[in-house]
Amino acid sequence: MKRIQVLTGHYGSGKSEIAINLAIENKIDMLVDLDVVNPYFRSRSMHELLEAHQVSLVESTIEKALGSDLPFISAKGSRPFSDKSLTAIYDLAGTHAGAKLLMQYREQIDIQDVDFLVVINIFRMETATKEQIFDLIKTLEASSQLKVTGLINNTNLMKETTEEHIKQGEAVIKSLAEQLNLPIRYTFIEEHVETNHIFEGENRRLVRYLAKKWL
């Protein structure tokens, strides 16, 4: 695992939930929320939880002003690129528009330190096929000026997810991974899914921190 993991993907692919899961489980120092698009269900609403796990959160609004829809990026967001003692996860907004925000750190980024990971759920209509995901990866790379270094299989239909669904996702993603010579870094599995199957990459159970229990 590299010191800095940057999560990108189409919007609604599950970047924010995964960012929180990885930050907590991998005991990351800093979670930088660069999602300036979504008004709800963002990692910045998880202030207290992350604090309890000693993850420091850099928010994409004026500090703790959750109700603001004014995009804001704290200068603290660049710290992990200059302070080599820090581990960090960057949670980008969806699509190439979100990936563009990385450009501001361009001069500071040492690519040796950075894993640029694409979160994929094949049950999102825009990333249902290998060709669509391929196109997405190319636009993400073009707008961020970074090479994608790995893929994350987050194929799910939330509470309706089955083992079979994740396998379907893996088939599509694996075939693309082979074509692009990229690793599948993680497969995320919804907590309720009963499976002994070993999927590609590190297998992680997805804890849904952002979705309320009645959703």
Partner: protein, 357 residues
């Protein structure tokens, strides 16, 4: 099509395309931005029309024009934006033009906030425009229900020649859920739009005029009575609701819609585990208000507890329907605060303690 995972706003936008929407006119506002964002790309791909207007007022008047030409038209906005559209909505109703309006509600009044709210209940059920008009107003609970209602709403608007408004709170607009976009729905069958202004007067032998101006009071009253007859027909035929957990002899029954109904379902499950049975009336169509639901309650019912993410708006409809039959109580949060199911459980226990005294 198999199920896909969609965000509420995207799902409504795609449902509109599937429902035969020919044209969209709108203006951005949080938390409904994914509706125009999605349509800006997909309407063109489907050979339909998308215009980002210069304001909400412009958008609703574009809706008026396009609807007048016989197109199936959609606009969407969030609370203060819907307020801006009220004049146009009154004109649409007055000119008997079909249109679909989506409101992804946020906190108010004024600019309010951007967090989810149900504070527009009066705006969607009473309307803020002038004159004797009514809307058909829906407030769905799940993305699947929302998708089906959006698809069907175009045929309902055509049938009644009246605007249909679909109001979801911001949570439903922003949340993700698996949906099947191609679930079979029953369209309302409507006659051909022989009233539309299509530029074919010569062929038709008469000019079709779209107006809401009637200077002769007797003529206007006749028009008002014609509209009233439509509203009566809506009241008779379009009441839609769900009854939940009524076969367990509940003494308390919730009345809740949209996200509040989802939270209430969690409360019903939690109370069930403690041996307390609570029912729920869930209005799906909020105007006309589903009066019929209140006629069928089990004998065990003593109290109706209205739950809102607003401060007693639907409660007024419940009071009107109730006619003193049941004890009424209320729980609401406002301003974008989304209650936890535990707060509702506590409220139920407080009512029960009071009743036991």
């Amino acid at each position: 099509m198999a199920k896909v995972l969609m965000k509420g706003n995207e799902a409504m936008a795609l449902a509109a395309i599937k429902g035969g929407c020919d044209a969209f006119f709108g203006y951005p506002i949080t938390p409904q931005n994914e509706v125009p964002e999605y349509l800006s790309y997909h309407m063109e791909k489907n050979d339909r029309i998308f215009v980002q207007a210069e304001s909400e007022v412009a958008a609703i008047n574009m809706v008026y024009g396009a609807a007048g030409s016989g197109a199936r038209v959609l606009t969407s906005s969030s609370s203060p934006g819907i307020a801006l559209k009220q004049e146009g909505i009154s004109y649409l109703a007055g000119s008997e033009l079909p249109a679909v309006i989506i409101n992804v509600m946020r906190g108010g009044p004024g600019l309010g906030g951007i967090q989810p709210s149900q504070g527009d209940y009066n705006q969607i059920t009473r309307g803020g425009g002038n004159g004797d008009y009514q809307l058909l107003a829906y407030a769905p609970e799940t993305l699947q229900e929302t998708v089906n209602i959006v698809k069907r709403s175009f045929s309902l608007a055509d049938y009644y020649r009246n605007p249909v408004i679909i109001a979801v709170d911001g949570l439903i607009g922003q949340m993700m859920e698996p949906v099947d976009l191609d679930q079979k729905i029953e369209e309302k069958k409507s006659p051909a739009k022989d009233w539309a202004a299509t530029g074919e007067a010569a062929k038709r032998g008469k000019r079709n005029k779209i107006v809401s101006l009637h200077l002769d009071p007797y003529q206007l009253e006749k028009h008002n009575l014609k509209l009233k007859a439509k509203y009566d027909e809506m009241k008779e035929n379009e009441q839609q609701y769900e009854l939940i957990n009524m076969d367990h002899d509940p003494s308390i029954v919730f009345v809740a819609y949209g996200s509040m109904a989802r939270i209430a379902r969690s409360a019903i499950e939690a109370l069930k585990k403690e041996g307390i049975e609570v029912g729920m009336i869930r209005p799906i169509c909020v105007h006309p208000f589903p009066e019929k639901a209140f006629e069928t309650l089990p004998k065990s019912v003593t109290t109706l507890l209205t739950l809102e993410m607003s401060l007693g708006q639907m409660l007024q409809d419940v009071q009107i329907v109730n006619q003193g039959r049941y004890t009424l109580d209320f729980f609401g949060r406002a301003g974008g605060v989304v209650p936890e199911s535990e707060e509702i459980v506590e409220k139920v226990k407080t009512i029960m303690k009071g009743a036991a005294k």
